[in-house]
């Protein structure tokens, strides 16, 4: 009998991935890799020390509580109570997941299904679209648009058109995915912009999935605002955070979802049926690191603030270098990525594979001839807006 087994319908078309292509290329050590978003700076020493201490404790090598190691969920609830000014129950309002990636997955699997529409703002962190599709729902895209006709110097110039946004909402809209600070542009949504989104969520009874992994990385003159704190929003928002981005330990793969019990309980059901528990020693070490920084949250030396100061100077240095090379960087207000308009260089790419968008071809040319890698921006948008974004590439500056 011939072998009839193929992939399930839920993963049809979801096998390709921009990273597979570009991380392979960038693995060549002679290439300066400013593409993938991983720090090559060291995590703070106390974070590494806490993990070393934990390795010696026997019971920390066995299973812990499924929805999150007790000391970690307690630390998270304390830190975020301080930030949010509201009570957060560590057992019912917090779920620890395998990276923020795992939180996005748990949230979408728990709350989104066939028949639903989910609004995704372009450009977007690339996993949002396949995750929404895997849940059987329809992604509805809305692009950030540049206010001043492309002569933009700042991420703040990229905005949503409120009328256009309102048109995307209908009775099928189950959720909108918000990412602030934004990857790749670095935009930090203002209170007014968040209010526009919140008003629509309340009007259409829509959920908000707020990816805030870069919440601590905001630069001078900007403030990270949590949409969950706006009136009427706590009850309909799941806010996602990341140890990898908070402590420069992407390889620990720990993240969390915070929200009201009536939403988090469904994420917990997904979690208990997908991987059940996250690694114990890493959670314990992370909890200890959080306690250290929790105690100094009013102190400028707290890592949550010192990291963003360190990155601000790296941001400025990279912007300077790019300008000197004749490029137009968009200065980010937050995050650790910077997008750059490369069309100004007018590089002849006619001999590279025509079927790919301009930015893909540019990055391949840049890797081959300049030994420098970045990520093409059109990887982060839906099919209709590729033309709008294909003159940009993304650099990471946490290096």
């Amino acid at each position: 009998m011939p072998f009839r087994h193929k992939n399930t319908r839920r993963i049809e078309g979801l096998d390709s991935n921009v990273w597979v292509e570009f991380t392979k290329v960038a693995a060549d050590p002679s290439i300066v890799n400013l593409g993938q978003g991983l720090p090559d700076i060291s995590p703070p020493s106390y974070v590494k020390e806490e993990l070393a201490k934990v390795a010696a404790v026997d019971r920390l090598n066995q299973y812990t509580r499924g929805f999150g190691h007790p000391s970690l969920v307690k630390a998270l609830s304390q830190v975020y109570e301080k930030v949010c000014g509201r009570k957060i129950d560590p057992l019912t309002d917090v779920l620890v997941t395998v990276g923020a990636y795992g939180s996005l997955f748990s949230t979408i699997q728990a709350l989104v299904e066939e028949g639903d529409e989910v609004i995704i703002i372009e450009p977007f962190y690339d996993c949002y679209e396949p995750m929404v599709k895997m849940a059987g729902a329809k992604p509805v895209f809305i692009p950030l648009r540049c206010k001043n006709d492309g002569n933009t110097a700042s991420s703040a110039d990229w905005v949503l058109d409120p009328a256009e946004l309102a048109n995307k909402f209908n009775s099928k809209t189950k959720a909108i995915i918000l990412n602030t600070p934004h990857n790749p542009i670095g935009k930090v949504f203002t209170r007014e912009e968040l209010q526009v989104i919140a008003d629509l969520c309340i009007k259409h009874d829509t959920l908000c999935i707020s990816d805030e992994v870069y919440e601590w990385l905001v630069y001078k003159g900007n403030k990270h605002i949590k949409i969950a704190m706006l009136p009427g929003m706590w009850e309909r928002t799941v806010t996602i955070g990341s140890a990898g981005k908070t402590y420069s330990v992407t390889g620990w793969k720990l993240g969390w979802s915070i929200g009201p019990e009536h939403l988090i309980k469904h994420l917990q059901v997904v979690h208990q049926n997908t991987l059940y528990t996250c690694p114990t020693p890493l959670q314990e070490a992370l909890a200890q690191a959080f306690w250290i920084d929790y105690k100094r949250m009013d102190d400028p030396d707290c890592y949550f603030y010192s990291l963003s100061r360190e990155l601000e100077s790296k941001r400025d240095r990279m912007a300077q270098l790019l300008k000197e090379a004749g490029l137009k960087p968009v200065i980010p207000d937050g995050g650790y990525f910077m997008i750059v308009d490369v069309s100004t260089l007018n590089v002849d790419l006619s001999d590279i594979d025509e079927k790919q968008p301009y930015d893909y071809k540019f990055v391949k040319w840049m890797i081959a001839s300049k030994k420098l890698s970045a990520i093409p921006l059109s990887a982060f948008c839906g099919p209709e807006t590729k033309k709008q974004f294909e003159k940009y590439i993304r650099f990471c500056f946490i290096k």
């Binding site: 992939n7 096998d15 090598n61 395998v98 469904h266 991987l275």
Partner: protein
């Protein structure tokens, strides 16, 4: 919201036996033989590998590694399983690392089970199989185990899989815990089975470090490619440093393979003694233990205790649930009711048994 908040795929899978029983054990037990994890330490060579990795000054071990498995780990797993299966394995396409064997199982079902598919589950079963099949839209079909399960039966399963072009998801997390000189047989090594089998393994069980949550799948690329798609759209990467330490653990075992100092030789020897001790103790108590050939669990018949804990036909709880609750509250001894590991349809036939874990120091 007029329609329900949560997705339909969560229907019927929200209950979980561990939530209740872990809480009971934490509250009342003096001796916890319930949940399956060792209370003895993970071997020194493993924790030392973690310490070495941390002290080595390579801070990139705290950053993302390869999504489908840290290179050092997939390479040594491929080498190990080449030996065990007697075939060449490509570490990049025939092995994938997951967050525990639990997530490996999740990837299998999500990648390969569609709505309308039937999945045969042998009872009693590790409790997650049923909800995972349901979450994937599949229909579980339950087949109860009879007292004897032998190589001939594995051969029979293999024949049926080949005849009906069915896949086999083989959960072999306890592959090293086999007693009395018995041999663990890998179904993937039987005729016609490699191409249709996904083998699931666990560092937690192999190295007594359940809290590290490192697992893997081994299988043909034509099946693993689909698991990779699920993995890259659900968790993407697994923790780097745990993978690095497990890789070193496997390196050590590769060099000591078959030798008396091998952890895979010493652990089953140690656990066999604990098994025998528990069997004796339960015999003395008046329970009727069933001697296991493998894993670190054993099941005992509690029907001799009907005088202490009488039947209550009006109770909505099965007898074994009531017995284990009575036992933990009154005797401080925690165990798990066996009917928890049966389907709704068959639970009531197996309410006279409870499960003990003997991976315990006492």
């Amino acid at each position: 919201m007029s329609r329900p908040l949560q997705a339909r795929r969560l229907e019927g899978i929200d209950k979980n036996i561990w939530v209740e029983f872990v809480k009971l054990a934490a509250t009342y037990s003096k001796v916890n033989l319930g949940q399956g994890f060792p209370d003895f330490p993970a071997p020194d060579f493993l924790t030392e590998a973690l310490t070495r990795a941390l002290g080595g000054g390579n801070h990139m071990l705290h950053q993302y590694t390869r999504a489908f498995g840290h290179p050092a780990l997939v390479k040594v797993l491929a080498q190990f399983f080449e030996k065990l299966l007697g075939r060449d394995l490509d570490p990049m396409t025939n092995v994938m690392v997951t967050v525990g064997a639990y997530q490996a199982l999740f990837c299998c079902f999500q990648a390969l089970v569609d709505e309308g598919d039937e999945v045969i589950i042998i009872e009693p079963f590790f409790d997650c199989y049923e909800p995972m099949v349901k979450m994937a839209g599949g229909t579980p079909v339950f087949v109860p185990l009879r007292p004897v399960f032998s190589r001939e039966e594995l051969g029979l399963i293999a024949e049926l899989c080949v005849k009906h072009d069915v896949l086999c998801i083989s959960d072999e997390v306890y592959e090293w815990l086999v007693y009395d000189g018995k041999q663990h047989i890998r179904i993937a090594s039987l005729q016609g089975m490699w191409d249709r089998t996904v083998i699931v393994g666990s560092a937690g069980k192999t190295f007594s470090a359940t809290g590290w949550k490192v697992g893997w799948v081994v299988g043909p690329d034509r099946l693993l490619q689909h698991l990779r798609t699920v993995h890259q759209n659900s968790v993407y990467h697994c923790a780097t440093i745990a993978q690095e330490a497990v890789a070193q653990g496997f390196q050590r075992e590769l060099t000591l393979y078959g030798k008396p100092e091998s952890y895979f030789v010493q652990l089953p020897k140690e656990l066999q003694q604990k098994r025998d001790w528990l069997v004796q103790s339960l015999d003395d108590l008046g329970m009727k233990p069933i001697i296991p050939e493998g894993t670190y669990f054993l099941v005992a018949d509690i029907s001799p205790f009907k005088s202490d804990v009488p039947d209550a036909p009006d109770s909505d709880e099965p007898y074994d649930y009531r017995f284990t609750k009575w036992m933990v509250k009154n005797k401080g001894l925690a165990a798990i009711p066996l009917s928890a590991f049966y389907s709704e349809a068959h639970k009531n036939n197996y309410t006279n048994f409870i499960r003990f874990c003997f991976a315990k120091v006492r």
